[in-house]
Assembly symmetry: C2
Homo-oligomer: 460 residues x 2
């Protein structure tokens, strides 16, 4: 292992330089205008896999963006680790809030990242994280220390709901056969308190449309006499959560797993610093479901958020219009044992139920995902915990994250294997936001932890 760690140490700067090249590619999957960049990024990932020593590297076409595959099989009786990641990124808007252009990576020190952080769209989510696996693999290959078989699938549609992945996995069950899946697409509780993610929330995502009058109207001539869809939508949104922070959708909590008091006590061990939390996002007060802490609200409890709203005149100056339609994007984070189909259905009927009779309402579901839990007594969890304890020199705790990686449930169902969520980002890394960044400390700790995980897992 020391030889591997030395190799990593000696090649640190090159690893960052190579990542910079990958971050320059604007592989935005949500916007069809960036299709060429997406394809270019897939090709680059394939080149890296080949150069690191992977066999059978392929850029596999799908109905959407290609999935990059590669493998190294060294022994039939050895366990196989399937590494998953995604090379697509979120749209970077609002662009004017970026300190520098989102696809021109640079390094800057921050309070939380005193060693410096890499700023660029995708630096933490997920290019900087899956790239750690390519480099850890390279290190194991170059030093002849790979202790088990490894397969890679790096997809290009995670940010739009992994639309093609399910079919790909279904059709390639044999090829993707593995004992566990290793994913770095989550975060640590903090750089000082490393954690392995043992739970993820699911997701149900909708677009809603409220139509009032059949055309835009002049607010002077019609104002005060017709249903204004912006007001109607606002009232409907304000009816989705009550004063106690509870979601009002009929039956929404029916299948929610009530976490036991003991488990909540165990979770409470993670030092929660409300003031630091508030300060980090410029708030003077938090809010949420009554009876739960911030940490609980974002991990063991389901939530609902409006992710976008628009309607009427939004340009410069004033326009006295009553728009025909108003729109919103609304998503819900789910916990075991809620399912996206169930929640999509409940949301849709409730949203239609609360609509006044003089408007038309349309609800269009986007992608969804199942919640996921990895029990902390599995060998997968233990191998990750031990690896990170070696790398960080500290106790590693289990941690439930509020985010969603919907494919973990699909992997378990189709491949029959557990996913290990060994991510190294921080909540403050601004993923999905302007000035996304990823700490150099975290990047290197990740590269070091991965061969240690392989070693532990091969032995277990």
């Amino acid at each position: 292992m020391q030889e591997t760690l030395n190799y990593i140490h000696d090649n640190k700067q090159r690893f960052v330089d190579e990542l910079f090249e990958l971050l320059k590619i604007a592989s935005i999957s949500a916007d069809p205008a960036y299709k060429d960049e997406v394809l270019k990024c897939a090709d680059e990932v394939a080149k890296h896999l080949k150069n690191a020593g992977a066999d059978n590297v392929e850029v596999c076409p799908t109905k959407g963006n290609p999935i990059v595959y590669g493998e190294k099989i060294i022994g039939e009786n050895l366990p196989t680790v399937l590494v998953y990641g995604h090379y697509d990124v979120q749209p970077p808007d609002p662009l004017d809030l970026w300190k520098k252009p989102p696809f021109e990576p640079y390094i800057e020190k921050t309070e939380i990242h005193p060693d410096g952080a890499i700023f660029a769209r995708g630096s933490a989510d997920d290019k900087g994280q899956f790239f750690m696996h390519l480099k850890a693999f390279e290190a194991m290959m170059k030093t002849n220390t790979l202790p088990c078989n490894v397969k890679f699938i790096i997809e290009g549609e995670e940010e739009v709901g992994s639309v093609s992945l399910g079919e790909f996995v279904d059709e390639n069950k044999q090829k993707l056969k593995c004992d566990c899946i290793l994913i770095s697409d989550t975060g640590l509780y903090s750089s000082e308190q490393p954690t392995v993610t043992t739970g993820l929330r699911g997701l149900s995502y909708m677009e809603v449309e409220v139509e009032g009058p059949s055309r835009d109207l002049h607010s002077g001539l019609y104002g005060g006499a017709v249903p204004n869809p912006i007001h109607v939508l606002s009232r409907m949104i304000s009816k989705l959560i009550d004063e106690d922070g509870r979601i009002t959708i009929d039956g929404f909590y029916d299948n929610v797993l009530q976490v036991s008091d003991d488990e909540r006590k165990e979770m409470g061990k993670l030092k929660d610093d409300p003031d630091a939390f508030k300060k980090s996002i410029g708030l003077n007060g938090v809010e949420g479901e009554k009876g739960y802490t911030t940490l609980e609200r974002t991990s063991i409890r389901p939530t609902l958020d409006c992710n976008g709203i628009w309607g009427g005149y939004t340009g410069e100056g004033a326009k006295t219009v009553i728009p025909s339609k108003a729109f919103a994007k609304i998503s819900m984070r789910l916990v075991p044992y809620q399912t996206p189909d169930e929640i999509t259905e409940k949301f849709t009927s409730y949203f239609k139920k609360i609509a006044p009779e003089n408007v038309k309402v349309k609800v269009t579901p986007h992608h969804g995902g199942m919640p996921y839990v990895l029990p902390s007594d599995t060998k997968e969890f233990l191998a990750a915990k031990k690896a990170m304890e070696s790398a960080f020199g500290k106790e590693v705790l289990p941690y439930r994250s509020g985010g969603s990686i919907p494919i973990t449930a699909m992997f378990e169902e189709v491949l029959g294997a557990k996913s290990v969520l060994m991510g190294f980002g921080l909540d403050s890394d601004a993923i999905h936001s302007p000035n996304e960044h990823y700490g150099l400390f975290n990047f290197y700790k990740g590269i070091e932890s991965i061969p240690l995980f392989f070693e532990n897992y091969a032995k277990s």
Copy 2:
């Protein structure tokens, strides 16, 4: 008079052709990108005035867009009519809802306009309407029938609150001295029931901003634990109007003129067809302040409407973001004796009062305008009523419109003259909306009514 009407009849087609050329100019005052088009339009208006026979034609510079002036003084002892109009237009968006491009005028018959209507941005508001005055003036000049003095001011900032007009009128009191102001920038009750507008609502227009967290956040990691500005703004908007359709702003109705039962009865003479109203805008139900009819809600009662809302991700697909900020444009229509300053202040304090403590709220006032009333026993009203009765061959009723022409109050204050609102558009003409149009019937009736007004007014 017959000679004048004959001249109008013989030149009908040319009048429309000339208007088409004016409609091709995208003189959008709200968007600085169209500055050149605005200037071009002003020059064209000046040319038309000169060719029609006006003296001292000028394109007068202002801090904003120029004001076109022209006059014809034929006798010191004759009354002087000041014609006001505006050559600027509203932004045409949403562009995809136009059947043809907004600045490529064409004629098409509609149910309400069996003789055909001119479709283009600005056709009804206000190019097609002020152009009637240029052509009526031309007809009176060519047939030597102008019975009194006339002055023209055609401005280029009406759609952005006439920001430079006040200063211009103040500085040119002598030049603009007149006995009454004649404006065609409003509508008829219907083509079958001609009306003269005797009241206009005032306006108070704001932009509001709600800031939650100081940066955009990932809704998985933060959702359920922080104030989402879209939810907060939605809740705040839904608190502005209560279940009875009453505006909840403290003191909002303090200065509202309660129209007497007698006057409401008189107004009730205008045939109100709720089904046709609903059908014309594709609604199965209307709404508004309890205790008032649709006609009353849009004329003698003040109202509040959200004209635009935006925040978060509004592009294609899904993005799981909690935005830092959400925005709305909110305007209120005022009635006598509310004032824009009073209402702006009351709105601002109320909006801040209902904001939760964990967000920051900003309110920026846009332009405002005073409400206006022209009593139906004035000679100005009677001259207009009689003129239109001749042109339409029908009884003409007084009508209060819901729209705002804030400058009428300013004219009265600075020039000491009443404004006559003799407009020929229809509510269904889709001004400020896609596929704006103006009936050919209305255009010609307008050109005929104007010389008749001049004749009546000169005699009165």
